[in-house]
């Protein structure tokens, strides 16, 4: 006996995902040069806060990454919005460069953290002050 079952595909119209819609529209609100700049600034300042105020070195590193990525956002968006005939898509390329550098930086930074943790048992910035004048 053949079991003629209906296909499991749901042919119903999709229901409106307002959550997603609102998110997209909020993103569209930002998707202007000024908005992106604002976004980048927000990210950057968050990073600055993490680097300057927090003592946990992991957070500091994360702050650094945030700052770098803020720059990335700026670069990419400028490139996108720019009408300047940029043949090489230089903003995108620069962003890729920054990502690469950031990766390297993170690797080195984390390595240092690991060593610091091993030697001192702490990754508190206040515990490493030998470099003072």
């Amino acid at each position: 006996m053949a079991d003629y079952r209906l296909p499991t595909t749901d042919y119903r119209l999709p229901t409106t995902d307002y959550r997603l819609l609102s998110m997209i529209s909020i993103a569209h609100m930002f998707f202007t040069p000024h908005g992106m700049m604002f976004l980048a600034m927000l990210l950057f300042l968050t990073g600055v806060y993490a680097v300057t105020v927090r003592r946990n070195l992991i957070v500091v590193l994360m702050g650094l990454e945030l700052m770098l990525n803020a720059v990335n956002v700026a670069l990419v968006s400028f490139n996108y919005f720019s009408s300047y005939e940029s043949v090489f898509e230089s903003g995108q390329i620069m962003a890729l460069m920054v990502i690469a550098v950031a990766a390297a930086e993170a690797a080195v930074g984390l390595a240092i953290l690991v060593v610091l943790m091993r030697t001192r048992g702490s990754i508190d910035a206040e515990k490493a002050q030998e470099m003072q004048g």
Partner: protein
């Protein structure tokens, strides 16, 4: 004859140097001595051949090899044998060969004979470069080369500080002379555009002919005209002269003194070189010290050959001196004063070699007198005779020193004539020749010099009849001194009774080995007879004087006229020599005699003796005035200027930087967050300065965004 053959003359001794120098200790004294002697003997044989060739054909033999040539300046290894250098070559290689043979005996107890003979050969090579060079640069090579060998040989027994010091002193004092020589070369090249003797002479002759002057004794020549390359300067001078005259300036501002010009300066600078090498005032001080070297060295280098280089150089460049009367007067005066000065010091020395050294300085003074008087052949003649009799005396003293086991103090000699008959006999001949007693060689040459010096009737370019007599008087005084120190030396050494018994028993004193004695014999024969080649013309006529006749194509000897007969001067000097020789010789047989007693009783004589024995305090004077100030000045300069001032400023700057850094140290807290905060603050400050607008403008942000919206 093949012209390149003359290259053998310097090159064979160089080969000898190479063999002995590289062979090192493989050769014993006989082996190395034979190599060296044979080398010099071959040179001598070739020299004789070249000499005969020049004598027969009158032709100049020359051979030139490239040395260097840059920007119009040429200096080549150009060797030449003409009348003058032929004579010099004969003396250098002839006397040199004899002294080499002598050294085989003298150096038999030395540890390092190969080194000694290598240096001797090198010396012969350098000396031959000096006399055979056809340009000033090759002459300078020889000039410095002989200085080097002299340095090495004086300090041959370097284990004693005094010897090494003496060598150093000789080299440095010579360098002071070389400084003058170098400047003279520069000046000559500046004016002549060449350093070749023939070309220089050609330039001088051209100029003289063009201006209608004829070179001759006493002829006043405006030597500014001799300048070949610098007519511009001459014109400039002339213009200056006219300008100064027109504004009525005093005459001394524009008048060009005849003779005081470039050539005078050249000749004076050359003479500075000559005073160094030929030990004249003020640079003679190295020669007495140079007696620290082995005695054959003293004979060869510091009596017969090297020290005569200055005399040779003036003879070689006589065509310049002929045109520079002021320089001639200076040469004459310095020569005369040196002759007296050194003779005076020689009177009271006790070291037998020191006596001979001062005697050499004094005799060189005689030679320079001849040069200054323009009687170049007379000077060269004295050079030749002096080479024989002074080499003989030095080697004789060497034989005595050898016999007395390196004792040089004459106070410990006495009565050695009986123990060393051969040395005694030859030494007497040398002393006779040195004193100038007829018919020994020194008589003819010294007599000629004294006679020509009377005829010097120009002083510093101006007519002056007293000058000649003054110089003659000085020369005669020096001749008297010569007689005195010579016979004092002979008597103290060979006559009387032996005084050195407690140091060395007389029975231990033995005559020198055969090689040394034979050499003494040959030299004695030369010292006795070599004078006959230059018998004065007033005795045998112009043609009878072979020496002047031979040199004539090279150096023309002018005729001298004087108020008094030459016989007068001859008899006066001869009489003076004989009398003083006899008196002093008689007295100094005993240590306490009338003369030494006079020195204790008479205050003036005592003081003179003191000064003479102290060598007139010249060394002390130089030490205080030159040596110490230079050394202390150098120290002071180093401590105060170099370390204190220059380095002080620099280190001060470094210190200042450090201080600033230290002041700023607290800023480095070591806190990571603090640093980050500072960075942010810095960025904010910069932003505030530039202004955000400017930044956006700089980035093109404003224009980019305005296009979108």
């Amino acid at each position: 004859m093949n012209h390149d053959l003359i290259l053998l003359i310097p090159l064979i001794p160089l080969l000898g140097f190479a063999i002995n120098g590289l062979g090192g200790k493989r050769f014993n004294v006989v082996g190395s001595g034979l190599i060296a002697s044979v080398a010099v003997t071959i040179s001598f044989v070739v020299s004789v051949k070249a000499f005969l060739h020049v004598r027969e054909t009158g032709e100049v033999v020359s051979s030139v090899f490239e040395w260097f040539e840059v920007g119009g300046f040429e200096a080549h290894f150009g060797f030449r044998i003409d009348q003058l250098s032929a004579i010099m070559c004969l003396v250098v290689t002839g006397v040199g060969a004899l002294i080499h043979v002598y050294s085989i005996g003298y150096m038999d107890r030395d540890k390092n004979p190969a080194k000694f003979f290598a240096f001797l050969n090198l010396f012969i090579f350098a000396m031959l470069c000096l006399v055979m060079g056809d340009n000033l640069i090759l002459m300078f090579l020889g000039w410095e080369g002989v200085g080097l060998c002299s340095y090495l040989l004086i300090g041959f027994w370097y284990e004693e500080n005094a010897n090494a010091d003496a060598g150093k002193k000789a080299f440095i004092v010579n360098r002071i002379g070389d400084f003058g020589f170098l400047l003279a070369i520069f000046l000559i090249f500046f004016h002549f555009g060449t350093v070749n003797f023939d070309e220089m002479k050609g330039a001088v002759d051209d100029e003289l002919e063009n201006d209608g002057y004829v070179a001759g004794a006493g002829e006043i020549v405006n030597e500014g005209r001799v300048r070949k390359t610098l007519f511009v300067d001459a014109e400039h001078e002339a213009g200056r002269e006219t300008a100064l005259k027109s504004i009525g300036a005093p005459s001394w501002t524009w008048q060009r003194h005849v003779g005081l010009g470039a050539l005078t300066i050249v000749c004076l600078l050359l003479f500075v070189g000559a005073t160094g090498k030929s030990a004249q005032i003020p640079l003679y001080v190295w020669l007495p010290d140079a007696m620290a070297g082995p005695t054959p060295v003293s004979a060869l280098i510091h009596a017969a050959t090297m020290v005569t280089a200055g005399v040779y150089m003036i003879a070689r460049l006589h065509f310049l001196y002929d045109l520079a009367p002021i320089a001639q007067s200076v040469v004459l005066l310095v020569g005369a004063v040196t002759a007296v000065w050194a003779g005076f010091i020689g009177l009271t020395q006790f070291d037998i070699k020191k006596v001979l050294a001062y005697s050499t300085v004094s005799q060189l003074g005689f030679m320079f007198m001849a040069m200054g008087a323009g009687a170049y052949s007379a000077g060269i003649f004295h050079l030749v005779t002096h080479a024989f009799f002074k080499a003989l005396l030095f080697l004789g003293s060497g034989a005595v020193i050898y016999a007395c086991h390196h004792e040089q103090d004459m106070r410990r000699y006495g009565g050695l004539g009986k123990r060393l008959p051969m040395t005694y006999f030859t030494f007497i001949i040398g002393a006779l020749a040195l004193t100038g007693i007829a018919p020994f060689s020194g008589f003819f040459s010294k007599d000629e010099i004294l006679w020509v010096s009377v005829n010097a009737h120009q002083f510093l370019g101006a007519e002056n009849h007293i000058f000649g007599w003054t110089v003659w008087a000085l020369g005669a005084l020096a001749a008297v001194f010569t007689a005195c120190y010579s016979w004092r030396m002979v008597s103290m050494t060979f006559h009387g009774s032996y005084r050195g018994e407690e140091h060395l028993p007389l029975s231990h004193v033995h005559e020198a080995p055969r090689t040394m004695r034979y050499v003494l014999m040959i030299l004695a024969f030369g010292a006795a007879t070599v004078g006959f080649i230059g018998i004065p013309p007033f005795i045998v006529g112009e043609s009878g004087n072979m020496f002047n006749g031979f040199l004539d194509p090279m150096i023309h000897t002018a005729h001298h006229e004087s108020a008094l007969s030459p016989w007068f001067f001859m008899i006066v000097t001869l009489a003076l020599g004989i009398v003083f020789a006899f008196v002093v010789g008689q007295n100094f047989v005993k240590p306490d005699n009338r003369i030494t007693n006079l020195a204790t009783t008479n205050d003036v004589v005592r003081r003179l003796t003191l000064w003479s024995r102290a060598k007139l305090y010249v060394d002390e004077f130089y030490n205080v005035v030159i040596v110490q100030p230079v050394m202390w000045g150098a120290w002071l300069l180093f401590a105060v200027v170099d370390q204190g001032l220059i380095d002080g400023i620099l280190n001060g700057a470094a210190k200042g930087t450090e201080l600033i850094a230290r002041a700023m140290r607290p800023l480095q807290t070591g806190e990571l967050n603090y640093y980050a905060m500072t960075i942010v603050a810095g960025v904010l400050v910069i932003l505030a300065f530039i202004g955000l607008d400017d930044i956006s403008a700089a980035l093109g942000l404003a224009s980019a965004s305005s296009e979108i919206h």
